[in-house]
Symmetry: D3
């Protein structure tokens, strides 16, 4: 039987974010459960499952969006972990932030790099 959008999204969320994504969804349960459902169904079920970009490329795009937006420490934590989970190395993650410098300036990039520093350290145990 064909999987529905929720099932497809949950599978993809697990593949990308591991238990980090689960924690976000879990933390929404008592306050805005539908927001969690939309993240699973739309972001992961509809978008991340599409062809034309592979998961590593999708995470490069996501890291660039989050760096540019700013004020996204929680989301960067999830997606730096996600990038590592789908096989992007630490050096390439840092280089993605460095490529953002000419377009968004140093402050946004510094903030992203400091989140990466914490994520890399938390995974080294």
């Amino acid at each position: 039987m064909e999987k529905n959008r929720y099932e497809l999204g949950l599978e993809k969320l697990g593949e990308v974010d591991g238990d980090q994504g689960d924690k976000v969804i879990e933390s929404l349960k008592d306050i805005a459960p539908d927001l969690g459902k939309f993240i699973i169904e739309f972001a992961f079920g509809d978008i991340y499952t599409r062809p034309a970009l592979d998961l590593q490329e999708r995470e490069l795009v996501t890291l660039s969006c989050l760096t540019t937006l700013g004020a996204t420490e929680k989301q960067l934590t999830v997606h730096i972990n996600g990038a590592l989970n789908v096989g992007i190395g630490q050096e390439k993650i840092i280089e993605t932030f460095i490529q953002c410098i000419p377009y968004v300036g140093f402050p946004r990039v510094l903030n992203a790099v400091f989140v990466a520093k914490e994520v890399f350290q938390s995974r080294s145990f």
Copy 2:
């Protein structure tokens, strides 16, 4: 003899942006020539020449930054052309914008897609 930052940057600018980049630098000549120099030396000479990300990956990151920032039609025009120049197909460029939706919403993505539409049409002649 080793090339200096300006020469390295000019070479890379040509590789990525073709004559589109030249036009930007040219248009700065009588108003802010050093701004053109910084784009060549720093953005293209220092950053685009680094390893760890290839040119296609750098353009994916750049397109994502410009989409997220908004109000970057001129720069998107240059870098959608740049993305095509380094071998990224039209479908993949559009998919990069679609991957941005969950992080930046529809308006920024719509604006980027409409710039892509114009660039794709202008190159089809």
Copy 3:
């Protein structure tokens, strides 16, 4: 038979944006048809159909988001029309922009008001 997300969204899009929304979807057909599909299914099918906020309140929120983002003239044109379509008066639309001043400053609000001026004039014939 129950309507699916696409049908629900198309109906809601028509209710809010009239033929302005159709034109956006139409203009995406040859470049990014799935983007149009996501706007209909997700934005209008999933979100605009929810209870807890009525359509007038949803348009107030949307106008506030677009004003704050900036660089959203096309989307403001669609949603100022949308706000009028769902029964919000011109004075209330302008007042929504004025309420944004303390939070986003004058430039974003001025830009939104000048879009409203054009929309109001275009509908007065």
Copy 4:
């Protein structure tokens, strides 16, 4: 005798933000007292007292602006409390954030919802 802008603003600030607003003004006293005066006179005295939008509608607009801007946790805390104070229910506040998703993406909305979660919990005692 007619109230001046400061008196009108202080009254409105109390009505909307209760003692949360007072605390902000108080915390500015020794560093930037005129900033507090401008918030009272201009934001609350000039803007919040106007007709055409009621206080509930003004808070919906304000929550939407703050969500879109990002990096506004302190201000969201004040205005989520403000929204509750003027009679907007918890469900409607969350729905306001959900209506922002298509325009600003998930990260800004997630951050706003997590602030709401803390505010709702802090008021449940």
Copy 5:
């Protein structure tokens, strides 16, 4: 007799923006006259008249804000003219934009410089 905030603001607006500011206020007359009033009373009457920064310093700050925000071509046109009106030279205006590069990146600065180019040319006749 003491001037009121509106009179003080109108005087300051004339000093800074010349007839450019008048045109903005004029263009608001039939759509949002109170927005024009708030710009005069609050921005120019309350803020620009304060001590601690002179008019040249205020215009440097304003140009930096508008460059960083983006999507502010109209406001940059007014305030590049304003900067010239209060005696800031063309070179210093361009240098202000160049100082923004490390903090906001090249695209925002390029857009501001191209507005300056048009303003400088329009005044050279």
Copy 6:
């Protein structure tokens, strides 16, 4: 012998940011040392050393950019210290933030002022 960009930048960084800048560079050493190098060479070596704006004017511009961007508490801490180091008084720093209000609204300015409050207190011992 002529100093190179790195040496010029390091000197300027020390002049502006004192040991605060060193700490940022130091904290990047094990995660993204080249990011520190680019800040020294490009931001401080290439940009801060230019004529046309003096160091006080450059810090006014920088504070305005950081206030407008938002989510820049760490960078504001460095540059409020930097502004004090190059001789800008506390009152003038606060006034710079107040001049930003009409262009960026109260939330960004409030956040900057609260960072200044902490910096001023930390230096009063």
